[in-house]
Symmetry: C2
Amino acid sequence: MVIKEGLRPGGRSARVQASVHCAVRELLEAHERSSVTVPMIAARAGVTPSTIYRRWGDLSALLADVAVARMRPDSEPADTGSLRGDLRAWAEQYLDEMSSEPGRMMMRDVQCSPTPGYCVSILSGQLQTIVDRYPGETAPSVDRLINLLAAPTVFRILFSSAPLAVEELHELIELALKT
Amino acid sequence: MVIKEGLRPGGRSARVQASVHCAVRELLEAHERSSVTVPMIAARAGVTPSTIYRRWGDLSALLADVAVARMRPDSEPADTGSLRGDLRAWAEQYLDEMSSEPGRMMMRDVQCSPTPGYCVSILSGQLQTIVDRYPGETAPSVDRLINLLAAPTVFRILFSSAPLAVEELHELIELALKT
């Protein structure tokens, strides 16, 4: 979600955005993605198509914006009591979510966003939260966790015939934890 | 390049494919991608648009086919005399190629291919060639090299604000070589 500075949270602009995002999410659940159009979204959100074109430019930019907003996690990463346990829980959930059909669509849409880098900053934030829970341990850097856990998860889904197996994910976690 | 079984190499079908692929590559070099159309490609390739539609379905499928064909390397991976050296040369060249504008376009197009997994099989073939040169050494598995070298390279280009630095790539190679 791109919040422009100077916008009053909860103001008219924020309400338009929330309503349009919500319309997109609902339509994508109910319809084939290729059949969703800007006029359909506008009708459902209770705005005019020109409001959407003015604000987002075109359909792919709007879908990218919604996808980036959906990347934001609903909750803190699970706290299992150990660094290894937290990383396993996080990585398994990430693999699950990204392998799903909505996850694949999200990754495709995010690439059309003008700021796809937002993706890694969200992941980094979550991994930093986990690492910060264990100040006594020599934890791997967040960059290393991104390279060794998030990257293979996504790369294999997008470009390989088979996603990462959970055992491979566990091996990568062990490798990341080795100092 | 999808070679269907039973096609005679060098036959009419292969010549149509070569000519259409060549037209796409030339047009993409000279024009904005969004302005390239099937009739333009057909005119340049000396075939009718319906030949293209019949064979590839639509423009994005054709672009994906060309992108997959371009993934095939022109030559064997460089032979530097050591496993570490070969991996460095290969990984640095891969990072270079994928970071370029044509590389980014290629990655985007390949995702529209019905067989994006072909991508990893090409990379695996190149890495296997390297590993096979050093039968005496305990080399990492090709899957490990894909996960630790190719995945972070591509993931960071697509989803982060900064690509992998060469130093990070070297660290990942050291990690991959650790038994």
